[in-house]
Symmetry: D2
């Protein structure tokens, strides 16, 4: 917490009934770094305004569309404008909103997957580079302190040369026909290609799996071989995906992401093996990281322990044994953005330890990954190249 | 989150470097129900004001003593005054501050253990009853949704007649002489009888154990037999406590609370057995409650699952599998207080499902428990009565 | 245990220093159904005889080669002959020994993988069918009671229509160059194509994974897409394998088997999801089976609980909570063989509940699986057919 | 396994339908060190003989009473006699049988609790010392390799000075009135003071808890304060016990043993804290020992790992990750006895690493413990002395 003023933000999307909008707001509220001052909280003007009122927005900053929000902000004097916008809409809205706010010079946080196509992603990356603004993507699982410790163990060489990366992400919420009847708002748009994009489960949680693997290992696969399936009757998008990965270094990997694993909740697991040991992390038990060295007993690293790396320690709030969880991890992404926004304002370079968050380039890499997986899934060739360097 | 205005609060204690003050503030910030507007954040006027400035308090509401804070509040017009005060000082300060604010008509949240003596506790209970104000005590572990589910399983009869209650609360932070050198602020006051009271570990975490058992079972022991030990060289207060319990119903129980369990973190466990089954909960894995019925397979109940009780469900924010943790549980206590404060303001009775928080009577019961445990520990008699009904 | 006489067995392989031979002997000893009366315990005649002496074999039944053993048995009167032979040699010896004993009318238990080629496997299946003898293959993991409960849950429809099968089998013992210096007898032959066959890790533990999936689901994949890697410098056989599976029913699956997962021990996991729920089993915690139904809380099924299926219950010896483990599971395979051998002797059909063990056809299917995986690994085509029906 | 001849044993008790007799026989069979050659398997002569026949005993060594067994053995030439007798009867039969066989010069293994009174125990200890024979007591939990590792960590100083010992042993099998109707043979005698002794749950599993704590810590409590309860209607013996312990060193402890923990199975847990760390072991997960040092991450020690102590390593049979369990631990007690019996026969001192098993003095200490707990439970004094040094 800091004596500096709170950062002012606007939210686009996330109105009444939206799950993820409330999570973003709680995450931004937690550490006292942000205050919500404006919004365009729904694509429906009435619902947008009703939502804004419920959240206590002043009438003149409670807009019926993101275009109105942007126009209004640009009319305001600099000292009154928002510092950043948080975009938590369905996927198809990300691109126009993000691009417009970046081009207008605002800092942006955008949900994942970033946009629908890598052309859009490249355009957005270029815009951010040109504007010189801060752009965060809420790959929230990378905000967990023990994920940062995992990344540290890889970077420090504790695992030796990496050989095997496995990410499994199983949920069960699409095991039944939840989309029938229209009562499930999430299912409604996530299963609709027009709003969700060409990827279903792949875009929703497969993209988290890709980002988690890339963040922890620092590597992007060179080749992939994917199989996508839509188990639910009538579904136009995949609800199950599985793929093999080959890395340029010779490492191998597997990603499994399914939303038809009936009865499972949010079972995201990461396992990375190198020549010197293996680490395992499970999102449903996020305060622990299991490290199995090749030459000694298994170690259970817990969030908050003094022997963790600085990057894991700075991502925690309370002593070990007092668990932190999903919202705190989400908040860590926002704390990273806040540090970068404040550094930007001060004209100083940000402390890299503090400004630790997924950036627009990570989002673009995720979009390219989705495209290549879709290409592989339709191909009879075994291996599809995932070209391009990691930004 | 609500369209009603945020509740204004002042904080007494919790200045720079205090662990628990920051937790309270984050918990109050999380759900957007409270805003910090005033404070007397330390017993040292300079540190108090520096802390308030760092937290963004206006100068005229940033006080050097709680007496100044109270006097200032009483001078302000009603519409500007704080709604409640949150007291997060060392224990010895609880009584005068709480009593003064209650008597002045303010709602209060106070950390545990409530006060030093049951005479103080009774005085405070009487004052609260006379003032008709809201008074919450932050036995924060009762805010965990799965503790509420445990309470529900007992109340619903799913466990049958209770027979055995075991609470173990093991920490290791006093295993070494952390108090030497004076650099550990927590150890500094917690091991000082003048500030901590006559109980050390007993008051700090034994009181959580008592409250957790009482909250879940709805029963208070009738008799207890305690053994307190100070393992640390030169310590004047217990750092380890163990006791046997007998309930009027015939049930039996054990409480173990230790802060010299070297290497352990915050290992609070509750186990309750009845004629029909056993439930087990571990604070370090708070999103799960294990229910072992006598006549079927073990069940793992997870926070957020649709088949939980209303009281467990309303204490959660996000879907099952997305863990919530310590700060969220803490925030649930404050949400209960908020519901009661708002009901009080509206003149309507509070929804009991919403206004679910430990009250001044729970705090008073905890003080009496501590007194009786201390009495038992010094007695050669096996059983010491824990007289008095649960409020 | 039974009043019938113990079954007499000979062992081929498994002399001094061999890991798996001792496991077979302990498993056969455990339940008092078998006695070792003869052997050819090594390919080295001297070591064979020294090993037999150490095991208490009579001199005239302690042979220097399996050919001598077989010839000697055929010279003995029927009432003195062995009932069965247990073959625990390196893989390349399985085929000639098994074929010779089957053709001579003996019952056989043989380690996996059964033989090197599917031509050999087909020959052996035909020989067994012609001889009408009992032939067990020690896919020992299927002997675990909770694996049998898993199979029961699938068969009973508790999981609905299967959609997803995942088996991961990670070990770390080949993470380092254990084969250097020649001191590791296991590594010595397992990494030698002449003795191990064309598959390394694939044959050793990948074949267990295949068998476990097939046993529990009752299904064999129709198509597979595999990637094999030899990470260890100079290795001629794979030490890591990963593959995607497609079933005729539309189900999907993944098998990962690695022996370079440094620091891991024997981490075999099975997960099967259907429309109605998911089951998860871990070999390192073998007494529990996790069942996550789509419409209620997770259930932890424990070995020995009265609500298990008959097939799981009959595979246990002691009450729930008293764990059984690897050797007991191994012994269950032998108990199944014993039941069938006794039924064979009595001329009665065996009780299928008792005669529950992997048969020569399962072994043959495993050999064909290995061949097809090797074919896929060398192919640029994405999908390789795994032709043939399950026996 | 050894080239030496198998040790010949007789069994007293353990006939058809007895749970524990079969466990003893399987444990003795597992490692090929013992063969059953004689018996008096029930107090009912007919059932004894029927059981012996079912187990394959020769008619002339299948007796209707232990007196007949003993007389017959003494008539036989030395080279034909049993090496030892295993006594697995209800408790009240232990004393006469054990005493008679010891006095006749036979080695003995006897189930726990050893005898009913400390006078009987002292008599038996004296008799064993006079006879110079081997006498093992099947406190089987001490046979678990990771319990031996726990003992090693204490002995090696890895935990520093011990401060706190907690053993909890919860079962649920007496939660319901299983004794009604007489169909439960275990409940039948265990709840009958004439056969079980003055202690119920205390004698059955409380004695295991005492022995486990004493074995691992090498300390016996100096004082205890106990509370025993019979929850089941009409029960004459305790089905729940809880007690506080004080050690001469200043250490503190708690034992909880209950058989009315409805829904629990065999939930035995040990936790020992010293100045340098804490170890935790759970019988239901016996291959792991959790070691939490005060100054580094938690370590999970697994059975079979090369970095374990010699005493833990020699108690295992198969590599880490391949679990061993209850029967193997039981067998380890018998392997210790076997080593001592063979040493005795050879006239050489036994290798202490091999001859690792609970002795008659451990059994006598357990009897004295039970007596003192019963005394404490009936006393109004807080502390009852548990006099006497550990043998």
């Amino acid at each position: 917490m800091s004596s500096e003023r709170k950062l002012r933000y606007a939210m686009v999307g996330g109105g009444n009934g939206a799950f993820i909008g409330a999570v973003h707001r709680k995450a931004m509220a937690l550490d006292g770094q942000f205050e919500l001052v404006a919004g365009a909280l729904s694509s429906s003007p009435e619902r947008a305004r009703a939502s804004g009122t419920a959240l206590g927005l002043a009438d003149d900053r409670n807009h019926g569309s993101w275009q109105d929000l942007l126009a209004d902000e640009l009319r305001r004097p600099l000292g009154e404008r928002i510092d950043l916008v948080s975009i938590v809409t369905p996927n198809h809205v990300h691109h126009p909103v993000a691009l417009a706010f970046v081009q207008a010079g605002f800092h942006v946080v955008c949900d994942k997957p970033l946009v629908h196509t890598s052309a859009q992603a490249d355009e957005l990356v270029a815009a951010v580079r040109q504007a010189g603004t801060v752009f965060g993507v809420t790959y929230n699982y990378t905000g967990y302190p023990m994920v940062r410790e995992a990344r540290h163990l890889v970077q420090s060489g504790a695992l030796g040369t990496l050989r095997k990366i496995t990410v499994e992400y199983n949920q069960g919420w699409l095991a039944t026909a939840v989309e029938e009847g229209g009562g499930n708002k999430q299912a409604d748009w996530r299963l609709d290609p027009a709003r969700s994009g060409a990827a279903g489960t792949l875009g929703d949680i497969g993209s988290h799996a890709e980002n988690l693997a890339a963040t922890v290992t620092g590597m992007e696969p060179e080749w992939l071989c994917a199989d996508l399936t839509a188990f639910g009757a009538g579904r136009r998008l995949d609800d199950d995906t599985q793929m093999l990965l080959r890395y340029a270094s010779g490492a191998r990997g597997v990603i499994v992401a399914s939303q038809v694993a009936a009865g499972l909740e949010n079972d995201l697991r990461l396992q990375v093996s190198g020549t010197l040991g293996t680490i395992t992390w499970r999102q449903e038990d996020p305060n622990h990281l299991v490290h199995s060295p090749v030459d000694g007993p298994r170690r259970i690293l817990t969030r908050g322990s003094p022997w963790l790396s600085p990057s894991a320690l700075q991502a925690g709030r309370i002593p070990s044994g007092h668990p932190e969880a999903f919202i705190e991890a989400f908040a860590n992404v926002y704390l990273g953005v806040a540090a970068d926004v404040r550094a930007h304002a001060s004209g100083q370079p940000a402390d890299p330890l503090a400004a630790d968050y997924p950036r627009v380039e990570d989002g673009a890499r995720g979009v390219r990954f989705i495209e290549r997986v879709l290409e592989s899934a339709q191909s009879e060739r075994k291996w599809t190249a995932l070209a391009g360097e990691r930004a």
